[in-house]
């Protein structure tokens, strides 16, 4: 287990003077192994980005623990050598005043000051080739001269320059066009083959399904279903997962009306049950199998 989340909870203070609290993430446990893509799927407000931020040390953990190779998260230089994130909007990740390749120079200054300029240039070029870009086309350009897909891949190349073990990819394709989106996804799949662990945060079920070995479905800060992607998507047990899947538009099939109408705790708006293992590596938080009328 490389990344391990154990009963992680994040409580935000809300209201005018922080008088109220809101549990954005409530008792979430899962893990990401090396050489594996895990997709974290949920609608807006389900807490998926908060989990990504906690793993990257960008926000504190209220309760529970997050460890990477047994080491707890801390927002320190050594931690970021191994754990990096790429975010949704590549356009706002670059300073428009400087050339886009400045992000590589900043990595060198803080992590590899002893490396010679010539050797660093070689490493940058090979990292750029690893993300399937032509160094001649992207080096020395300003951010506005590059496309969203190119900028996003440069940010991944930046992460590859470090000795990373885990990449948190938070909605990295949602700003990209269909024609370039798939290239970035294929790249993540290649990183996995190099032994990286990837946490792919998304609200797009078809993209998560394309890429991930395992899937975690979040709802209102709790895990409703998780396990092997084949099982979660192929045989969804939780009514919420079914409803999400039914809402995905498909090219050649009519929109399903598979929303369950039978009584269930999820529809009554109550809390879902505790996670239990319904099948090998397929967990579901649904009281259905515990004597529910469905």
């Amino acid at each position: 287990m490389m990344l391990q989340l154990d009963n992680v909870t994040k409580v935000y203070k809300v209201g005018a003077f922080g008088g109220k609290t809101f549990a954005a993430v409530d008792g979430v446990s899962f893990d990401v192994r090396s050489g594996e893509v895990v997709s974290l799927i949920g609608e807006s407000g389900s807490g998926k980005s908060t989990i990504g931020k906690m793993i990257l040390g960008l926000t504190s953990v209220t309760a529970g623990s997050i460890t990477v190779d047994g080491v707890p998260v801390k927002a320190a230089k050594e931690y970021y050598r191994h754990v990096q994130g790429v975010f949704q909007d590549p356009f706002s990740c670059y300073n428009p005043v400087f050339k886009a390749d400045r992000v590589f120079q900043l990595i060198k200054e803080s992590y590899y000051p002893q490396v010679s300029a010539a050797e660093w240039d070689g490493r940058v070029r090979s990292a750029i080739q690893d993300v399937r870009l032509d160094p001649g086309q992207v080096l020395g350009r300003y951010p506005h001269q590059l496309s969203g897909g190119q900028l996003q891949r440069l940010l991944i190349a930046r992460a590859l320059l470090l000795d990373i073990k885990l990449l948190v990819a938070d909605e990295i394709t949602s700003m990209l066009d269909a024609s370039t989106r798939i290239d970035v996804l294929n790249l993540l799949a290649e990183l996995k083959e190099r032994g990286l662990g990837v946490l792919y945060v998304t609200h797009d079920l078809s993209l998560g399904n394309y890429l991930a070995e395992r899937t975690v479905v979040l709802r209102n800060g709790t895990v409703v279903e998780m396990g092997l992607t084949d099982k979660v998507f192929g045989d969804p047990l939780h009514p919420y997962t079914r409803k999400l899947l039914a809402a995905v538009p498909r090219l050649n099939a009519p929109w399903e009306d598979a929303e369950p109408t039978d009584t269930c705790r999820y529809h009554a708006g109550g809390a879902s049950g505790a996670l239990f293992e319904a099948d090998a590596d397929h967990f579901v938080a649904c009281a259905r199998l515990d004597g529910c009328p469905r």
Binding site: E43, S44, S147, G148, G149, D177, A178, S179, T180, R181, I182, D183, L185, N186, A189, H203, D204, L205, S206, L207, N209, Y210, L211, T229, F233, K243, L244, L245, A247, V248, P249, R250, L251, N252, P254, W255
Partner: protein, 313 residues
């Protein structure tokens, strides 16, 4: 014929020259038709939507005509266009989340908005339309901030169509929504058409799978030009233009796994519209391009209602 666009050219004026965002685009729409307008960023789909209702300061109408229900729209004339807006042509903007006045209760804002068009608010009609999109009637006494994104989106839809416009332009209305909300909004749009609140609709999106569920006809644009226009079913099952084919092949569907089937994107990027290349604009990225592609391909009706601009189709 509800809408007839002929040889429309709209350029953006910039310091470096004119950006030819819409270059010689012609198409027609029938009464009651929902036209899905798809394409990559920068292909001109939002420009086309905006041209039909309000051009911003940088846009210049360089030629061509737009006819709605037999009357020509003065699209280049901001003032004269005003009498058509909201009554004849209406828009659901891309960021409906922030389209409502945050300092007014929604009911009051709608009243003021209608007042500015010289129409009195028919509360019963408004409430019946709220029911149609499954919004509680009490939202009229709420401020916009009290509504969720999907609710605001549906509220803006109701406001935009209150005067029963002939043409509704829905610009990327679902792209910021979750899948289940997206489905509700999409069904509401179809409901508006079926109820006769709008005669026809242009649904601008980059999501081909979603468009195929909503639209009767899909039009794919590339680099400011029409690439292909066909009935929705034909477009997703038997596209003829190489760009459309590649675009559809790059879509991951639920059930397609990277381990089983590796999808690929389209190499390269669209040409700059400041100085677009002569001939077919997709030529540089096209796998089947040949010598004839140096000439600009005409839009040809290869089958009834199926238009393609490609020499190889």
């Amino acid at each position: 014929m509800s809408l007839r666009v002929s040889e429309l050219r709209v350029y953006y004026r910039t310091l470096k020259g004119d950006v030819k965002a819409l270059d010689d685009v012609s198409f027609t729409m029938r009464d009651g038709e929902i036209l899905g307008l798809a394409g990559e960023s920068g292909c001109g789909k939002t420009t086309l939507g905006k041209s039909l209702i309000r051009m911003d300061g940088r846009m210049r109408h360089m030629g061509g005509t737009v006819e709605l229900d037999g009357r020509e729209l003065p699209i280049g004339d901001d003032r004269r266009m005003n009498e058509f807006r909201f009554h004849e042509v209406s828009l659901i903007p891309q960021y409906s989340m922030s389209a409502m006045n945050p300092t007014r209760k929604i009911g009051k804002m709608v009243g003021e908005l209608l007042g500015s068009r010289g129409v009195a608010l028919d509360r019963a009609e408004l409430e019946s339309r709220l029911d149609l999109v499954e919004l509680p009637r009490k939202v009229l006494d709420n401020y916009p901030i009290e509504l969720s994104g999907g609710m605001k989106q549906r509220m803006v839809m109701v406001i935009s169509t209150l005067l029963n416009p002939s043409l509704l332009i829905a610009d990327e209305v679902t792209s910021a929504l979750d899948v289940s909300t997206q489905k509700a909004v999409a069904k509401a749009l179809i409901g508006f058409r079926d109820a006769g609140f709008v005669k026809s609709m242009i649904f601008v999106t980059h999501d081909l799978a979603l468009t195929s569920h909503i639209a009767d006809t899909i039009m794919v644009m590339y680099a400011g030009k029409l690439a292909e226009k066909a009935p929705a079913k034909v477009m997703v099952t038997a596209p003829r233009h190489p760009y459309t084919k590649l675009l559809i092949n790059s879509l991951p569907e639920v059930g397609v796994r990277h381990a089983d089937k590796k999808l690929s994107g389209i190499a390269g990027s669209p040409p700059s519209l400041l100085d677009p290349p002569a001939g077919c604009r997709f030529r540089a990225r096209c796998p089947v391009a040949g010598d004839e592609c140096g000439q600009e391909p005409p839009v040809v009706e290869v089958e009834p209602d199926h238009f393609v601009a490609c020499w190889k189709a």
